[in-house]
Every structure is written in structure tokens, then in C-alpha cells.
């Protein structure tokens, strides 16, 4: 009887010990899980906060330093050695010219390529090659575009250093963007529209003209906005193709003459001439334009989404 009692006690004790060890282990695991959880949370919040802070800092710093240097006179005059004042009218005009010229050339090319891919192409190899090429193009750094643009457009095609050569270089750079956005919007045109048009006896070209093209307006507009943003921000590709002159020209004269866009002018003023006030003034303009373009892109996207639903 005694032995039995002892044994039971022993078992109870063992049980107790086992439970205790188990509980200790469990708390250890729970503690580990809790620290893991907490550290991940902290890392995520800190990273997101840092990213947000960076954006706020960049925008406010550039605007605070740049806006006091902005004036009407600064915007509508050209640099003068006589009064030793710097104006950025030529750079603004050059930027406008280069944006217009690039879009004018890249739109038909990009939209045409997208239409070929979604409407005409039946050979999978050609489609693959075109898509691969577009991906490759969007990965090539702008300095390489600048070099090849200089060799091909300025030297080989005899355009010299001019806004047009710069625009042609930008055309190649922006081709994938326009192509992709157009293609995406073409995919949302219902197949039944096309079938309906074919069923009524329309030829392929007629279908493309009357049914497909109106359906890709949203993609084209989005592509344009994205391209304008990219052109505004581009500098490395333009340095050797469009040059950095500050002359005021009309659109057609301007295209055949060299000229600096806003970004190139910023670079030259900041790095080569040490005119940081001017550089910040240009930077603040660019920053405001970037914000505007981003807003426009989101709004256009929302507007067309609503329309489609």
C-alpha cells in the first residue's frame, strides 16, 4: 500500500515536472514569436515612415529653397551677360518643343505597334521578338540612349546637335511606354465588338479604325502623360543629342538648333556654374510639374475606370 502511494506520488511529481518543462518551453516559444512579431512590426513601420518622410522632405526642401528664387522675370527672360541675370524662357520653350516633337513622332509608332501586336500579329515568334525588344528598350539606361543618339541621329543622319536629334532619341526611349499602355487598353476592348463589326461585313482595317482605335484612347492618354513625365525628367540622353544652348527660337527653328531643356539647364547651372539659386528655382518648377503629372495620371486612370464600369 505504502509502495503504491509512493509510486503514485512519484508519477504525480514526474507529471508535474514534465508539465513545468513543457510550459517553460511554451513560454520560450511564445516569447520568441512575440519578439519576432514585434521586430517585424517595427521594421515595417520604420521603413514605411522613412519612405514617407523622404518624399515629404524632398518636396518641401526643393520647394522652400526654390520658390523664393522664382519670379515672373525669371520665367520670361533669357540669360543676359549684360545685366548678368539668368532667365529660363529658352529652357522652358525647348522643353515644350521637345515634348511636342517627341509625342508627335512616338504616338503613331507606339500605337501602331500596339495595334499590330493585339490585332494583326499571328506569328508567335514575331510577337515574342517585339515584346522582348520592348522590354529590353525599357531597361537600357539613358546615357546609352544618349550615346547611340549622338552617333546615329546627330552624326550618321546629319541632324547635328539639335532638339530634333534629342526628340528622336527620346522617341526610342518612350516607344515601350506608349506601346504598353495602348496594348493594355486594347485588351479591354470586348472581343464581341470586333466580331460584331466583322459580322456586318467590315474589313480588318475598318474594324481597327472604327472599333479598336476609339477603344484605346484611355491607354494613349495615360501613355502620353507617362511619357511627358519621362521627357521632363530626362537629362543624360539629351546632354549629347540636344546640347545646352539658351537661345529663344520658334518651334521650327528651335527643332533644328541645339538647346537645353529644363533638366539639362538645371544640371549645367548647378554643376558647371555653381548657380544654386537658379538650379533650385528650376528644380522647384520640375517638382511642381512632377506632382501635377502624377495627379493627372491618377485622375485619368480613375476617370476611365469609372467610365468602363
Amino acid at each position: 500500500m505504502d509502495i503504491l502511494l509512493k509510486k503514485e506520488q512519484q508519477i504525480n511529481e514526474d507529471d508535474f515536472m514534465e508539465k513545468r518543462v513543457k510550459r517553460q518551453l511554451e513560454t520560450k516559444v511564445i516569447r520568441k514569436r512575440k519578439t519576432y512579431e514585434a521586430s517585424m512590426k517595427v521594421l515595417m513601420l520604420a521603413s514605411t515612415f522613412l519612405t514617407g518622410l523622404l518624399v515629404v522632405f524632398l518636396i518641401s526642401y526643393v520647394l522652400i529653397k526654390g520658390i523664393p528664387n522664382l519670379s515672373i522675370e525669371f520665367l520670361i527672360t533669357k540669360p543676359s551677360y549684360i545685366t548678368e541675370k539668368i532667365g529660363i524662357l529658352p529652357d522652358i520653350l525647348n522643353t515644350v518643343y521637345i515634348v511636342l516633337a517627341t509625342l508627335f513622332i512616338v504616338l503613331p509608332l507606339g500605337v501602331g505597334a500596339a495595334i499590330y501586336l493585339t490585332e494583326y500579329a499571328s506569328n508567335k515568334k514575331i510577337v515574342g521578338a517585339i515584346e522582348y525588344a520592348a522590354e529590353t528598350l525599357s531597361g537600357i539606361p539613358s546615357i546609352i540612349y544618349g550615346l547611340v543618339g549622338m552617333l546615329f541621329f546627330c552624326q550618321f543622319m546629319g541632324m547635328k546637335t539639335s532638339l530634333l536629334a534629342g526628340a528622336m532619341t527620346l522617341v526610342i526611349m518612350n516607344l515601350p511606354t506608349i506601346m504598353r499602355t495602348t496594348q493594355e487598353s486594347l485588351k479591354t476592348v470586348p472581343q464581341s465588338y470586333r466580331e460584331g463589326a466583322f459580322g456586318l461585313g467590315a474589313g480588318k482595317w475598318r474594324v481597327v479604325r472604327t472599333v479598336v482605335l476609339p477603344g484605346c484612347v484611355d491607354g494613349v492618354i495615360t501613355g502620353c502623360i507617362l511619357s511627358v513625365g519621362r521627357i521632363l525628367g530626362e537629362s543624360a540622353a539629351l546632354l549629347f543629342t540636344a546640347g545646352f544652348a539658351h537661345a529663344v527660337n520658334g518651334l521650327l527653328d528651335g527643332l533644328s538648333a541645339p538647346g537645353a531643356t529644363l533638366t539639362v539647364a538645371l544640371y549645367v547651372y548647378a554643376k558647371e556654374q555653381g548657380e544654386f539659386g537658379v538650379a533650385f528655382a528650376i528644380a522647384s518648377i520640375l517638382m511642381m510639374l512632377t506632382v501635377l503629372i502624377n495627379l493627372a495620371a491618377t485622375m485619368v486612370g480613375k476617370y476611365f475606370n469609372k467610365k468602363k464600369n
Binding site: M44, S47, T48, E119, G139, I143, I172, W205
Partner: protein, 304 residues
């Protein structure tokens, strides 16, 4: 009567032939438009190879790639681009080490935890970061980062590899965040629900289930960041000091991109050809990155 019908038929047939010819012409035009991208890639490749090979041949392949000195304007010019290659590699690696963790955690937070307005605002902010021109980054870097580094680390000149790394890390953030978010959003809800049902906490689920499921997409984001960093020229040019030193964190350095950009304007002869060769080397790196990127993208496409 019969004559009229045949005449009509013949006329109709001619009409049909005409439309068919027109259709074919239009098809041809679109085909040409489509092939312009392919032509552009070929043009770029061919031009770079043709322009880049002569200097490499004249200087010597190993002397060019592994030469430690670059003195292009000396009386007896020396063209060795190892400093540029190493600087580009170190600079990119540094930017990745610094930028990827921040971008990754931000992406997980935005994709899985942030809701509604918060996510929308942050995504808009990230897009904005992507849209800021690189010269603006360069300008801010010149006036904030460079003096800051000089003061904090007590070095004579803040224009250094470190400054370039920090700027690059910021510049690659948007691509990393955006592509990672897309990949994380594409993870099937069922995976996460199963993990939650097994007793994992939400955060454990995000990092131990969602992230591994999206790993190809996140890898693609990193590779994309590598491509952006190695190709950036203007911002780096403004903050890195632009002296052809072997890379060291607090010294002025010159990247592959900036080597091309800084001397192109006044170069000629063998010096200019050597610059084209540098561009060819850079292009080779970019192609390597493109192939890797494609590999991960395809994998991601298969997994999704």
C-alpha cells in the same frame, strides 16, 4: 440579263481584290511599325559594338578591362577601366543593401497591412518618388548629402561613393516597392487563410507564407533595382566627385556611366573610342541584368 450579271460579278471581284490589296498594305504598315522596337534594339546593339570594339582592340582586352589606371588626357594616355567597373559594382551593391530592406518592408506593410487612404497616399508618394528627375536628386544630394557626410565623418570632401550609394538607394526605392507590392498582392488569399487557420499570427503569415510565395516577384524587383542603379548617370555624377579612383567609401569615385558622361563632350580620337567601349561594357552588364530579370518574371508568371 446574263451579261449584266457577269459584268456585276466581274466588277465585284475587282472591287474585292482592291480591298484585299489595301488590307495587305495596311497589314504591312502595321508590321513595320511593330518591328521598329526590334530595329531600335538592333541599332543600339550594333552601334555600340561597332563603336566600342576598336578601342578595346587597340588598347588590349585585358589591359582595358583590368587596368587600374585611367589617364585619358595624359601625354601618354592610359586606359584602364577596372576602377569604373568596381565602382559601379560596389555602388550598386551598396544601394541594394541599403535600399532593398527598406523597400521590402515598406512593400509588405503597404500590400498587407495598410488600408484604404493610407495605402493610397503612400502609393501616390512612391510614384512621386519615381517621377522626380534624377538631376533634382543630384542637386539635393550635392547640397544636403555631400556637406552632411563631410561633417559627420570628418572627411575632407563629402562627394564620395557613400553619397552616391545613398542617392542610388533612394532612387531605386520606388521600383522595388512597386514591383514587390504587385507580387505580394498576387499571392492567393487561400494560402494566407490556411496559415491563419493553423494558428499563425497575421505577421507570421505575411513573412513566412506570403513573402516566400511572392519570392520570384520580389527577386525581379531587386534585379530591376540593380538595373536602375547601374544605369543612373546624372545624379551620381553630381554627388560622387568624379575622380577615377579605386572605389573606397569616402573617396571621390567615377562610375561607368559617369565616365562616359563626363568626358564625352570634349573627347576625340582614341579617348572617345575608349568611352564607347566603356558604354559597351555597361551595355553588357545591362543585358546580363535583363536576362536575369526575364528569368524571374517568367517564373513569377508561372507561379501566379
Amino acid at each position: 440579263m446574263a451579261n449584266k450579271a457577269t459584268a456585276f460579278l466581274i466588277g465585284w471581284r475587282i472591287e474585292m481584290k482592291k480591298t484585299k490589296i489595301i488590307e495587305n498594305i495596311i497589314h504591312g504598315i502595321f508590321l513595320i511599325l511593330g518591328l521598329i522596337t526590334v530595329a531600335s534594339v538592333l541599332l543600339i546593339t550594333i552601334y555600340l559594338v561597332i563603336a566600342g570594339i576598336p578601342a578595346i582592340r587597340e588598347i588590349g582586352f585585358f589591359k582595358f578591362l583590368f587596368g587600374k589606371n585611367w589617364a585619358s588626357t595624359a601625354a601618354e594616355p592610359v586606359f584602364g577601366i577596372l576602377p569604373f567597373i568596381l565602382t559601379s559594382v560596389y555602388g550598386t551593391a551598396g544601394a541594394i543593401v541599403l535600399g532593398v530592406p527598406i523597400g521590402f518592408f515598406t512593400a509588405v506593410y503597404l500590400s498587407k497591412i495598410a488600408t484604404g487612404k493610407m495605402r493610397e497616399t503612400m502609393e501616390a508618394a512612391v510614384s512621386l518618388l519615381a517621377g522626380i528627375p534624377s538631376v533634382v536628386y543630384g542637386l539635393v544630394g550635392m547640397l544636403v548629402l555631400v556637406p552632411g557626410i563631410r561633417k559627420i565623418f570628418h572627411v575632407p570632401d563629402g562627394a564620395s561613393l557613400l553619397a552616391a550609394i545613398i542617392i542610388l538607394a533612394i532612387m531605386i526605392l520606388p521600383s522595388i516597392i512597386k514591383v514587390s507590392i504587385t507580387a505580394l498582392d498576387a499571392v492567393p488569399k487561400e494560402y494566407e487563410e490556411a496559415s491563419l487557420a493553423l494558428g499563425a499570427t497575421p505577421i507570421e503569415t505575411y513573412f513566412r507564407v506570403s513573402v516566400p510565395a511572392a519570392k520570384s516577384g520580389i527577386a525581379a524587383a531587386v534585379v530591376l533595382g540593380v538595373g536602375r542603379a547601374i544605369g543612373e548617370a546624372m545624379a551620381v555624377m553630381m554627388v560622387s566627385g568624379n575622380v577615377p579612383n579605386m572605389p573606397s567609401l569616402f573617396q571621390s569615385v567615377r562610375f561607368l556611366t559617369t565616365a562616359v558622361a563626363s568626358e564625352m563632350a570634349y573627347s576625340s580620337g582614341l579617348q572617345q573610342q575608349a568611352l564607347f567601349s566603356i558604354a559597351l561594357v555597361l551595355f553588357f552588364f545591362i543585358m546580363l541584368i535583363n536576362v536575369t530579370l526575364n528569368f524571374f518574371m517568367k517564373k513569377e508568371g508561372k507561379e501566379a
